[in-house]
């Protein structure tokens, strides 16, 4: 039984080290300096657009946050109003002048529970 080498050698053959790719493909398409410049410009444009999108989105969140803040302030104001109303309705003078209080009668006699 004999062993056969399966490794394909390229022009680098004889000069490769362990863990290095040993296959290289050379593209048939060649890009010139103008194309490179255009591509770089396009990439910059895309990056700029991404930045603008993100910045606009952040500003959009600001408006949402503002709406929520306004809502919180409004609800807080309503809560305060209700607390004031509650305090007025449960004030001693209000309770004393209530229908229930006016219909109460004084007991004829009182005693204490003895333990």
């Amino acid at each position: 039984m004999s062993y056969q080498r399966t490794t394909t050698y390229t022009r680098h053959q004889g000069n490769w080290n362990r863990n290095q790719n040993t296959v290289a493909f050379a593209s048939a398409v060649k890009l010139g300096p103008v194309t490179h410049t255009v591509l770089v410009a396009l990439m910059i444009t895309v990056l700029g657009l991404i930045y603008l999108t993100q910045a606009t989105r952040a500003t959009g969140y600001d408006y949402e946050a503002q709406k929520i803040d306004t809502k919180i302030a409004e609800l807080s104001s309503q809560k305060t109003d209700l607390e004031v109303e509650n305090a007025r309705l449960t004030a001693l003078e209000t309770v004393r002048n209530s229908t229930v209080a006016r219909e109460m009668t004084s007991p004829a006699a009182t005693d204490y529970v003895r333990e």
């Binding site: 500003t59 309503q78 305060t80 109003d81 001693l92």
Partner: protein, 582 residues
Amino acid sequence: MTMPRGIMSGNRTRLLAVVCVGIMAIFIVRLFYLQVIDHETYVSLANQEQLKRLVIPAARGEIYAMDAETPVKLVLNETVYTVFVDPQVVTKPKEVIETIRSVAGGNARDDLEKLVGKKDSRYQIVATKVTRKQAELTKKHKLAGLGFQATSQRVYPEAQLAAQTLGFVNAEDKGQYGVEGYLNDRLTGEDGVLQSVTDVSNVPLTIGRHNINQPAKNGDNIVLTIDRNIQSYTEKALADGLARTGATNGSAIIMDPQTGKILAMANLPTYQPAEFTKVTDAEAFNNGVVTRPYEAGSVFKTFTVSTGLDTGVIQPNSTYVNTDSIKVEDRVISNAARGHTGTITIQDALNYSLNTGMVTIAQRLGDGSQITKGARDTIYRYYHDKFGLGELTGVEVSGESAGRVISPEEEGGNAVQYATMVFGQGLDVTMVQVAAGFSAMVNGGTYYSPTVIGGVMDSNGTLKPAPIKPAREGIITQDTSTKLRQMTHEARQLFPPGDRPGYYIGGKTGTSQTLDANGKYRFDQTIGTYLGFGGSEESSKYVIMVQVSGKNMNLEGNIHAKPIFTDISNWMLDYMKLQPKG
């Protein structure tokens, strides 16, 4: 001679290039100047335009009272609106006027036609203190030229209850008088800051490098020790008492002698804190219990007896010979109540409020016949150092007065002065000082600094109790305290007091003369006072002090102040659910 075409074309191109380069150079230099050299100026201008610094107002802390064990709001904040118009923008003046009148009602200005018609003005206030609901109703009409400015105002659901203890907040949002004045800094809190780039509608945006968001720190929500039910009944009892007696002024304080907590402080005449601008006499703002020192009169004899008992120079049944007058140096001091002459006990002297008995105690603190320097030092040590008379108690109400107890080291601190001090003349003390000192006498001998602060309500609505003020323990012995309670209990029983049976109530009357403009005692104007405690034989549950006065009126402790004490005391027994003995 003409130039060849090629040469001419080359020159023009070069010229054009030079011009273009020159123009570009100008642009570059100008841009460099604007963007680099003058950078800060333009950044500053841009910030002025885009960067807004808004103040986030801190909410003023609310004030609570106790309803037995539950805190209830006594002072709240409410957002109200000031409605204004820009007369130059108003297009429908009649509709504006009708809307404001119908919605704002009594809060609208009377001369609306005149205000809205002022075409040379851009800002006219047409209604104040408009509620949120009223403001919303007005906004629904979508009237051009109407604007709303939100402000916060204090609301007092219990109206004038505890007015002098609370105080009020003035137009500059500053607390005045009472707790509002004393704790203004704690109640005010700290405003926050929001600095941000904003859009044209002033909506803050997160873009920008100089944004600041520092939230406001709201003021503390203070919980008072004042019980609104006790306060309410005390005010009613005091008003009834004044109506019965014809007195024009009255004050009362109720304390828990076991803690120093003030449960009620009432003063008449009073006022509505929400309408403080309508008060014509500023004296109504003062809490007389803490601000008005006076000669307490015979209620002060409890302090002298306590001093005598604690130093061991007397016992309740110690005797002396009463001749209705006693000589101190070149002065003769007489009793107001005459006829109880002969050999009598100190208990008798307290019962009949005899000045000679108190002078006798002072003499026994000395060499037995003179109020020596040593006796005066002892009296001063008890009055001032132990019972806290003549110095600020630290009660958290604005305008507290220290009063004055003359020291033996001072020029006026002689034997004659001290001979009058021992029965409540010749010294100025406040009711809160007397009530706090008396509390120590009836609680076993521990002096608690009087306080109206029960704690702070946190954001979750949980009451965090205030730290306990340091107490002075053992200022008198338990034995002295027990004897003094017995003696005042007996003194109270001398005249049928109308107490509920089965309880242990003690007290002492006081009728003090007032001074005229020349510093001489008047006999036609006296202040009636009553000082006492209630509870069981084992423990005192409350201390009450009542004072009534009136211009050119002779008011007495026994006749005019004592019934008010009895009224409040009997009610307190029920309110505190104290079970009678026997």
